[in-house]
Symmetry: C2
Subunit: 160 residues, 2 copies
């Protein structure tokens, strides 16, 4: 964990230097990085304190649980979660060892595979959500009105 992205001075920005962000842009960036790091850290700590695995595991379980038969291709998961290929491969290793997912043969592509969520994976996802939801509420819900949350969401949407 790290990401602090503090800003460099913007003094020279006025003199028509190309590609220099405005102060508003720079401040927004700095705060985005800082706040997200701090919130994410807090949420991860809450999960760990409750005895749960990291958020990445939850993300995998949720993705899988939302798919038709509870299985997806690793490639899909990579794209969805923005995790590199080898990272996903090993995450699946660990979650398989823990019994929350299982590797299955992929009928449509001999190179590929399906990763399926197990019953205990579904159970874990539900239990984690209790804690995760409480953490989101504590760290975000109590600090923004619904209207503010909605506009934050909209602004962030422009950055995608």
């Amino acid at each position: 964990m790290n990401r602090l992205a503090v800003l460099g001075m913007v003094k020279a920005a006025a003199k028509a230097a190309p590609k220099r962000p405005s102060e508003e842009t720079t401040s927004a960036w700095a705060r985005l990085v800082r706040v997200q790091q701090s919130l994410l850290g807090a949420v991860e700590r809450d999960l760990k304190k409750a005895g749960f695995p990291p958020l990445a595991w939850y993300d995998v379980l949720l993705e899988l649980s939302r798919h038709p038969n509870g299985h997806m291709r690793p490639v899909e998961l990579e794209k969805q979660m923005l995790i590199p290929q080898y990272g996903m491969s090993r995450l699946i290793d660990r979650m398989t060892d823990a019994g929350y997912v299982e590797r299955m043969v992929c009928p449509v592509d001999g190179r590929g595979q399906f990763v399926g969520i197990t019953a205990s994976g579904r159970a874990l996802q539900r239990k984690m959500w209790d804690v995760y939801a409480a953490a989101i509420q504590k760290h975000v819900g109590t600090k923004l009105s619904n209207a503010e949350a909605a506009s934050l969401c909209a602004l962030l949407g422009k950055l995608s």
Copy 2:
């Protein structure tokens, strides 16, 4: 790096369950995590592509360069950057090996030390800022007006 924080369903939120975030809150959270991860990844890639070390190094250099004599206590840096003590200790190791900072004795506390930025550290900070600034502009500046950036910044401020 990972953080995807997808949301769990909020169906039950209406029935007065305690501590459940609203949909607005949950969506804002999900987008915050996702967008920040994706932007930070893009910026880090830009830096690496330009042959520079990770953003954390820049953060250290900038902090140091902004302080009176170019030095700070490691503890201060930890607090500023939200990095754990052992993480900072090792980051300083690496940056010292690379010649960008140096450890100095701390006159006011025999346990502690000062970390000072070197001339080549200052030079690196300036060169990195060129690339970093361009990246911020590309990934944020071109997507938000100054007014939007300012209100994003304000909303994020409420989350601290």
